[in-house]
C-alpha cells in the first residue's frame, strides 16, 4: 500500500515536472549561453554530528569549465576548479589539496566530484544523464528542482541535489546537497551577476611557495 502511495506521489511529481518543462528549457538556454556568473552565498551545513547547523558566507565565480569558491570572510577555504584539477586551498593553514580529475578512481569520490560539476548544469542533457528529476516546485519567483543521482554508487554519498533558480532572470537562487548520512549542505546565492567579465587571476592555480600541497588520491 505504501509503495503504491509512493509511486503515485512520484508520478505526480514527474507530471508536475512536466508542467515546468518550458521554464526548465528557458533556464538551460540561459545557462548554455552564459559566459560567466558570480555572486555571494551563504552556506549552511547541517551535519549529523552537530546539534546546530554551521553557517558561513562566501563568494563564487563561475565560467564554463572553471569555478572559484571562497568560503569564510576572510576566506578560510578556496575551491578552485579548472578543466584538469580541483584545488582546495586553506590559506590560513598554508595548505592545499590537489585532486587531478582524470586520476580519481571510480567510487563515491568520483561520483561526488561529478555531481559537484553537475549541480551547476549547463545543459539539460548533461543534467538528465546524471540525475532523475524527483520533483519540481514553484514559489513566487523561484522554481526548485529536486534531483536524484542516477548512479547507485553516487547515491551512497549524495542522496539528493536541489537546484532553485529565479524565474524572472533565470539566475541561480540556491543549491542543496543531501548526503547519505543525513547531512545537508545548502547554499543561498545573492547578488548574482551574469556575464560580467571575470579577472583571469581568479582562476589561477599558482600557489605561494610556502604552501604545502598534497594529493590525497595519489597512492
Amino acid at each position: 500500500m505504501r509503495s503504491v502511495f509512493l509511486a503515485v506521489l512520484c508520478a505526480a511529481a514527474v507530471s508536475r515536472g512536466a508542467d515546468y518543462d518550458a521554464q526548465f528549457n528557458q533556464w538551460f538556454e540561459v545557462q548554455t549561453n552564459l559566459q560567466s556568473w558570480s555572486g555571494d552565498f551563504t552556506q549552511t551545513r547541517t551535519l549529523t554530528v552537530l546539534n546546530q547547523p554551521l553557517v558561513s558566507r562566501g563568494k563564487v565565480w563561475v565560467k564554463p569549465g572553471e569555478f572559484r569558491w571562497e568560503l569564510g570572510q576572510p576566506a578560510q577555504t578556496i575551491v578552485l576548479r579548472n578543466p584538469n584539477q580541483l584545488l582546495i586551498i586553506y590559506p590560513r593553514l598554508k595548505r592545499a589539496e590537489k585532486y587531478p580529475l582524470d586520476a580519481v578512481p571510480s567510487g563515491p569520490m568520483k561520483d561526488a566530484l561529478a555531481l559537484l560539476d553537475a549541480s551547476l548544469p549547463r545543459d539539460r542533457a548533461q543534467m538528465e544523464k546524471n540525475f532523475t528529476l524527483l520533483a519540481a516546485t514553484a514559489t513566487n519567483a523561484t522554481l526548485q528542482m529536486t534531483l536524484q543521482p542516477r548512479s547507485e554508487a553516487a547515491r551512497k554519498f549524495i542522496g539528493q541535489v536541489v537546484i532553485a533558480f529565479h524565474t524572472n532572470d533565470f539566475t541561480i537562487a540556491a543549491t542543496e546537497m543531501k548526503f547519505a548520512d543525513g547531512s545537508k549542505l545548502h547554499n543561498d546565492f545573492t547578488n548574482v551577476v551574469l556575464n560580467a567579465p571575470l579577472d583571469a587571476k581568479l582562476f589561477d592555480a599558482a600557489l605561494p611557495a610556502d604552501f604545502t600541497v598534497s594529493e590525497p588520491l595519489k597512492k
Binding site: 553557517v55 568560503l71 547507485e152
Partner: protein, 1116 residues
C-alpha cells in the same frame, strides 16, 4: 608347510591392504610435492597455511554497469546472510563502511603501540583545558573545509585522534579508496567474501558447501529480479573452490586415465588373442592391484599426493606386461603345466620387475618428494603386479593345467629367480633382405629428420613453476580475473616472517628490512611493503599501560566537552571506542591485539596467529616486469637465513628446478649404471650392448624432435621421464636381442613372437602414459606426453629397426643350431679373449693346479647358473630313466669334467703333444683299413670326452684331418681355434649355411680326404626322427648324406679321459650300401645305426658327455 606359509603370506598381504585402506588419506596440496627444506617452498606453504582462509569463499560478480554490479552484490550478500546454517558472514564492502565506529578499537590499539612519548602526549592533547580549543577548531573546519576527506574524518573524529604516523600505512581506510578490495576500477566488477559456517576441512565438505551456495545464487538469479541478473556473471574462487576442483580433477584423472588405459588394454588384448575370459580376468586383477597398491602406499607412505596418483595409469601400462607374457607362454606351450610355466617365466618377470622397481625408486633421489612418492607407488605396484600375475593370473584360465605333474620336483623359492634354460627354436628363412634395407632407410630418415628439426628448433626448459600449479579451472581463472580487476601485481612475491612471538617477528622484520633496503638500492626489487608500523611492540605496550589506564577514564570528560561544543553523541562513537580500548589496554597484563570484526578483517590480510606461532606477510615488487629469478633466489636464500621467506610461483619454479638439476645426477647416474649393468648381464657382448645404446640414442633424438615440433618444453615434472624412458628402452632392447639370438636372427619370427608381445606391452604403456596427458595437473600431463612418446619410440625402434641392425652386425656370424647348439646359451668362456686367457693359463700354470681351479669354477658355475645347468640335467635324464637325482649328480660331475677337458684342450692348442693315448692296435687298424680304399674317411664323433684330441691322434698316425665346424660365437675365437688346429696339423672347414661348402666337403672326401663331424646334437633343420636312448631324437643326416654323395668310410671314434691317459675307442666301421642310401628312410636308418652304436660308449662315460644345449625335441 609350504602351502601353509603361502596362505599366510596372502593373509598378511590382505591384512596390510586393509590397514592401508584404513589409513588412506589424499593430499591435494601440490606444495607437498616439493622439497620442504627449500625456502621458497616453506614461504609458499606458510602463505597457503596461514594467509588463505580455508573457510573463505570469494564470489565475483560482473555486470554491464557499475550500478547494477553494486546493487546486485548487495542483494546477493543480503540473500546469503539469510543462510545462517551455511554462511557465517558475508563481506561485500569494506567492513568499516557498515560499522565505522568499530575502527575505534584498531585506532586505539595503534595508539597503544606508539612510542611512549607520543602516547603520553595524548594525555596533554586530551587535557580538559585543551578540549574546547580543539573542538572549536573542528567546528571551524567542518564549517569551511571543502575537503571530503576532512569533512568525513573530522565529523567522527572531533578530537583529531587519527593523526598519527602509523595510519599512513593503512590502505583502504580513507574515502578515496572507496570499495578498494571489493570493486574493480570501473565498478562493474564486485567481490563478496563469504565465510562458511560449516567445517570445510575435507573436500567432500567443500563440495557440499559449494553446491548449496550455487543453489542459493541460482535461486536469486532465477527469482523475482531475474531480469536484473541477465548478462550478469557470477564466479567462485578461494580455497574451498580450489580444494573441490583439485579433488574433483583428481577423481576425474583417476577415472579417465584408468578407464582409458583399461579400455586400450582390453582392445589390444582382444585384437591379439580374441578371448573374453583372459581379458576380463586381466582387467579385474589390474583393478585389484591398483586398489591394493593405493592401500599399501598409504600404509607405507602415509598421505598420498594428488600428483602421485598418476601412478595408476603408469602401473596399468607396466603390470599388464607380466600377464601378457605369462599368457602367451601358456598358449605357446600347451603341454606345460601352470607351475612349469610359472617356473619358466617367473625369473624373467621377477628380474624385469626388479629392474623396473629400481628405476622407479631412483625417482626418490630427484629432489621432488611428490615424484619420489609416484616412483615408490609404482614400485610397490610393480612388486604386487609381479606377484599377482605370476601366482594368480593363469590358474583360473587353465584349470586343467593348474596342478603340477606327479613326478615334478618341488620348486624352491630361488627357482623363481633362476630361469631354466629354454630350448632353442629352429630358425627359418623368412628374414628378408628387403625389410632389412627398408629398416636402414627408415633409420636414416628418422635420424636425418630428427637432427634436421633439432638444428632449427629444440625443446626449451620451462624454468617457471607452471608445471606444479593446478590447472586453470574456474577457481584459478577467477583469481586471475580478480588480480587484473583489482590492479594487483600479477606475480607478487610474498615475504613471510614467522616467529614464536611478536618480539621475535619484529626483530626478524627489521633484519629483513635491512636486506630489502639493499635490494631496492641495487634495483633488484622495486619496492616492498611491510606492515611494520602496524606490528605490536611489546615494550611500547608495557610502557604505555599506565597512560592507557589514564586515557581510558576520559570518556565522561570527552562526552561533556562535545556536548558543550554543540556536538551530539554521533561525534563520540569513534572516540568512545578508542577510549574503551585504552581502558582495556591499561588493565591488560600481556601483549594485546584488537579483536572486533573490522580489526580482524584488516589484520588477517597480513597477520596470522597460531597458538605457538605468529606470522606477518609483506609484499615485494620486482624492479621490472621481468623477474631475475637467479638473483631473487639468492635474495631468498639470504633472507631465509634470517627466517624470512621470500616466495612466489615464479621464484618457486626456478628454485625447485635448480634443486632438481643439482640432484639430477643422483637419478641419472644410477640409471645409467642400471642400464649398462642390465645390458651387460643380458648380452656380455659389446656389439649388442652398443646396439642397445643405439636404440636408446635414436629414441632420445626422436623424442627431442617430437617435443620440438609439438612445442613441448622440459619442466620440473617431465625431466623425471628420462629414467622411465631409459628403463623401458633397456627392457625392450634386451627382449628383442635375446629373441634374435634364440631364433637365430630370424627378424620376422622375432617380430611375430616377442615383437608382438612387445607391441602389446608398449601399446599399453603408451596408453597408460598417454592418458596422463589428460591430467588436470599440467606437470603430470607433460610427464605423460613425454613418457608416451619416449616409450612409443623405444618400442617401435626396438621391434622394427633393431632386428635389422642386429642382423647386419651379427647376422653373418649368428650362431645357428646345427652341429653345435645355439650360441645364445654358450658360456662366457666361449669368447676369443677368455679363450686366450685359458691358453695363457694352461701354459703358465701346472695342469693339476689349473684343473683344481677349473673344477672350483665349474662348481661355482653349477651353483650360480642353474638355468644353464638344468639343461644338462634334462639332457641326461633319459639315460637315467627319469631319475632326476642321478641325472643331477652326473650333470654336476660333467661340469667338473668339462672344466678339466677345457684345460686339456688349452694345453693341446697351446702346443703340448699328447703321448698317453690308451689304444689297442686292432682298433687303429680299423682306421687304416678303411683309409686304404681311398674314398675318404668320415670320422664320426660325439661331444664325449676329449673328442677334439682326435685331430692330434690322427696327425700322430700320419693322417691329416679336416674338421667340419660351425662358426664359433665369437669371430676371434673361430680364427684362434682354426690357427691352433693348424699348428698340430688339423684343417678346419667352416660350413655355416653355405650349400657350396657342403659340395666342397663331398669333393674332398671323394679325393680321399679325412674329415670329422659330430652327430649327437639336433640340426637346425633337415633332421630325421630316430631313437636315441629309446627317446625320440632329431638327428642330423650329415654323415649319411656325405656317405651317399662320396662313398666315404664312416668310422665312429670316441676319446675319453682316464686317470692314466686318453682312451681311444674306434667303433667297427659302419657298413652301408651306397645305392640304398638314395632314399631318406635308408639314410635315417644308417643314422639310427650309427647313434645306436655310440649309446654304450656314452653310457660308459655319461659324466664326460657334454651336452649344454637342449638335445631332445620339445614335447608336443
Amino acid at each position: 608347510v609350504s602351502s601353509f606359509l603361502k596362505r599366510w603370506w596372502w593373509v598378511l598381504l590382505l591384512v596390510a591392504v586393509a590397514a592401508g585402506f584404513a589409513r588412506l588419506r589424499f593430499d591435494v596440496d601440490v606444495l607437498d610435492l616439493l622439497p620442504p627444506e627449500e625456502p621458497t617452498v616453506q614461504g609458499l606453504k606458510l602463505y597457503q597455511q596461514h594467509f588463505t582462509n580455508a573457510r573463505e569463499l570469494v564470489i565475483s560478480l560482473r555486470a554491464t554497469d557499475a550500478d547494477t554490479a553494486e546493487k546486485l552484490s548487495g542483494e546477493l550478500a543480503k540473500r546469503l546472510r539469510r543462510e545462517t546454517n551455511l554462511v557465517a558472514s558475508v563481506t561485500w564492502q569494506p567492513p568499516w563502511m557498515e560499522a565505522p565506529e568499530q575502527l575505534g578499537e584498531l585506532l586505539g590499539w595503534l595508539w597503544f603501540n606508539q612510542p611512549p612519548a607520543d602516547f603520553a602526549a595524548l594525555t596533554n592533547h586530551l587535557a580538559p583545558e585543551n578540549l574546547k580549543p580543539q573542538l572549536d577548531e573542528t567546528r571551524e573546519l567542518l564549517a569551511t573545509s571543502m575537503s571530503p576527506m576532512d569533512l568525513a574524518r573530522r565529523s567522527f573524529d572531533p578530537f583529531n585522534l587519527l593523526t598519527m604516523p602509523a595510519l599512513t600505512s593503512i590502505g583502504g581506510m580513507d574515502m578515496s579508496a572507496g570499495n578498494q578490495g571489493f570493486a574493480g576500477a570501473d565498478g562493474k566488477y564486485h567481490l563478496l567474501y563469504v565465510e562458511s559456517a560449516v567445517d570445510l576441512s575435507g573436500y567432500r565438505e567443500c563440495e557440499n558447501f559449494l553446491k548449496q551456495i550455487h543453489t542459493v545464487v541460482a535461486e536469486l538469479q532465477g527469482g523475482a529480479e531475474k531480469e536484473n541478473w541477465k548478462n550478469v556473471t557470477v564466479h567462485f574462487t578461494g580455497r574451498p573452490v580450489f580444494v573441490e576442483e583439485i579433488a574433483t580433477a583428481m577423481q576425474k584423472d583417476m577415472s579417465h586415465s584408468v578407464g582409458a588405459t583399461s579400455m586400450i588394454i582390453a582392445i589390444l588384448f582382444w585384437i591379439t588373442h580374441r578371448r573374453w575370459k583372459p581379458m576380463l580376468w586381466l582387467l579385474a586383477l589390474l583393478m585389484i592391484i591398483l586398489g591394493a597398491t593405493l592401500a599399501l602406499g598409504a600404509l607405507i607412505l602415509g598421505h598420498i599426493s594428488v600428483v602421485a596418483l598418476g601412478f595408476a595409469a603408469v602401473l596399468l601400462g607396466l603390470a599388464v606386461d607380466y600377464a601378457v607374457v605369462h599368457y602367451q607362454e601358456a598358449l605357446a606351450h600347451p603341454n606345460l603345466t601352470v607351475p612349469e610355466i610359472r617356473r619358466a617365466i617367473a625369473p624373467s618377470i621377477l628380474w624385469a620387475a626388479i629392474t623396473t622397481i629400481c628405476a622407479f625408486l631412483v625417482l626418490n633421489f630427484g629432489g621432488l618428494p611428490g615424484l619420489g612418492q609416484l616412483g615408490s607407488l609404482v614400485a610397490i605396484g610393480i612388486a604386487l603386479s609381479a606377484l599377482v600375475m605370476v601366482m594368480i593370473y593363469l590358474p583360473p584360465l587353465f584349470p586343467e593345467r593348474r596342478q603340477p605333474r606327479p613326478n615334478q620336483p618341488p620348486f624352491r623359492w630361488w627357482n623363481f629367480f633362476i630361469a631354466p634354460h629354454e630350448p632353442p627354436v629352429a630358425a627359418s628363412n623368412s628374414s628378408g633382405k628387403n625389410s632389412s634395407r627398408g629398416a636402414f632407410v627408415v633409420t636414416t630418415l628418422i635420424l636425418l629428420c630428427a637432427v634436421g628439426i633439432l638444428l632449427f628448433r629444440h625443446p626449451g626448459l620451462d624454468r617457471s613453476g607452471n608445471a606444479l600449479q593446478p590447472a586453470r579451472g574456474e577457481a584459478q581463472a577467477t583469481l586471475d580475473e580478480m588480480t587484473v580487476e583489482m590492479g594487483l601485481p600479477p606475480q607478487p612475491l610474498w615475504l613471510i616472517v614467522p616467529g614464536r612471538d611478536e618480539a621475535v617477528v619484529f626483530q626478524r622484520l627489521q633484519n629483513a628490512q635491512g636486506i630489502l633496503d639493499d635490494a631496492v638500492s641495487n634495483r633488484l626489487i622495486g619496492k616492498y611493503l611491510f606492515p611494520t608500523a602496524l606490528w605490536p611492540r611489546g615494550e611500547n605496550q608495557v610502557s604505555n599501560r599506565a597512560t592507557a589506564a589514564i586515557l581510558g577514564e576520559k570518556a565522561p570528560l570527552l562526552r561533556g566537552a562535545l556536548a558543550d561544543a554543540g556536538f551530539n553523541t554521533n561525534a563520540m562513537l569513534l572516540s568512545e571506542q578508542m577510549v574503551h580500548t585504552w581502558a582495556q589496554a591499561g588493565a591488560s597484563k600481556n601483549l594485546i591485539w584488537p579483536t572486533n570484526q573490522v580489526s580482524g578483517w584488516l589484520l588477517k590480510r597480513f597477520v596470522a596467529r597460531a597458538p605457538d606461532e605468529v606470522l606477518v606477510m609483506g609484499l615485494v615488487y620486482p624492479a621490472t616486469n621481468k623477474v631475475d629469478a637467479a638473483k631473487l633466489s639468492t635474495l631468498s636464500n639470504e633472507l631465509a637465513r634470517g627466517h624470512t621467506f621470500l616466495s612466489g610461483w615464479e621464484l618457486l619454479g626456478y628454485a625447485t628446478l635448480q634443486r632438481v638439476e643439482s640432484k639430477m645426477w643422483l637419478v641419472v647416474l644410477p640409471l645409467v649404471l642400471l642400464v649398462l649393468l642390465s645390458l651387460w648381464f643380458a648380452f656380455r657382448r659389446a656389439t649388442e650392448i652398443l646396439l642397445g645404446l643405439a636404440v636408446l640414442g635414436l629414441s632420445g633424438v626422436s623424442l627431442l624432435a617430437v617435443m620440438a615440433l609439438a612445442g613441448w618444453k622440459w619442466n620440473l615434472m617431465n625431466l623425471m621421464a628420462m629414467p622411465l624412458i631409459l628403463g623401458t628402452g633397456v627392457d625392450y632392447t634386451i627382449f628383442i636381442q635375446l629373441a634374435l639370438r634364440r631364433h637365430g636372427g630370424d627378424c620376422a619370427l622375432v617380430r611375430r613372437s616377442v615383437g608382438r608381445a612387445l607391441m602389446l606391452c608398449g601399446g599399453t604403456a603408451v596408453a597408460g602414459f598417454g592418458s596422463l596427458a589428460m591430467s588436470s595437473n599440467p606437470g603430470m600431463a607433460s610427464l605423460g606426453q613425454v613418457c608416451a612418446v619416449g616409450i612409443g619410440a623405444n618400442a617401435l625402434i626396438s621391434i622394427f629397426l633393431l632386428p635389422a641392425w642386429w642382423s647386419r652386425r651379427l647376422g653373418g656370424n649368428a650362431p645357428k643350431t646345427c652341429v653345435t647348439a645355439a650360441h645364445g646359451a654358450q658360456p662366457a668362456f666361449y669368447r676369443g679373449a677368455a679363450w686366450k686367457l685359458g691358453l695363457f693359463c694352461a701354459k703358465v700354470f701346472p695342469a693339476v693346479l689349473l684343473k683344481k681351479i677349473a673344477a672350483t669354477l665349474a662348481d661355482l658355475y653349477w651353483l650360480t647358473n642353474r638355468r644353464q645347468c638344468e639343461t644338462v640335467v634334462q639332457n641326461l635324464l633319459p639315460l637315467f630313466a627319469g631319475d632326476k637325482t642321478a641325472a643331477e649328480k652326473a650333470a654336476r660331475t660333467a661340469h667338473r669334467n668339462f672344466a678339466a677337458k677345457l684345460v686339456d684342450l688349452w694345453r693341446v692348442e697351446g702346443g703340448e703333444e699328447i703321448r698317453n693315448w690308451l689304444t689297442t692296435d686292432g682298433e687303429l687298424d680299423i682306421i687304416r683299413n678303411a683309409r686304404k680304399r681311398g674314398r675318404g674317411a668320415l670320422f664320426i664323433t660325439l661331444h664325449l670326452g676329449n673328442w677334439e684330441h682326435g685331430g692330434q691322434l690322427l696327425t700322430q698316425l700320419g693322417i691329416r684331418l679336416t674338421i667340419l665346424s660351425q662358426v664359433e660365437p665369437d669371430d676371434g675365437l673361430t680364427d684362434l681355434r682354426k690357427a691352433a688346429r693348424a699348428r698340430y696339423g688339423v684343417d678346419t672347414l667352416i660350413i655355416g649355411d653355405d650349400g657350396f661348402a657342403f659340395v666342397e666337403v663331398i669333393k674332398k672326401l671323394q679325393a680321399g680326404a679325412d674329415m670329422a663331424v659330430s652327430l649327437d646334437r639336433p640340426p637346425d633343420r633337415g633332421g630325421v626322427p630316430v631313437k636315441f636312448f629309446g627317446k625320440d631324437f632329431e638327428a642330423s643326416l650329415a654323415a649319411a648324406e656325405l656317405a651317399r654323395a662320396s662313398g666315404c668310410a664312416l668310422i665312429g671314434v670316441t676319446i675319453v679321459r682316464r686317470p692314466d691317459g686318453f682312451a681311444v675307442k674306434v667303433l667297427p666301421e659302419f657298413v652301408y650300401d651306397r645305392k640304398n642310401l638314395g632314399s631318406r628312410e635308408a639314410r635315417a636308418e644308417l643314422t639310427q645305426q650309427i647313434l645306436r652304436a655310440f649309446e654304450p660308449e656314452i653310457r660308459k662315460d655319461i659324466e664326460q658327455w657334454y651336452q649344454f644345449t637342449p638335445i631332445w625335441p620339445r614335447e608336443k
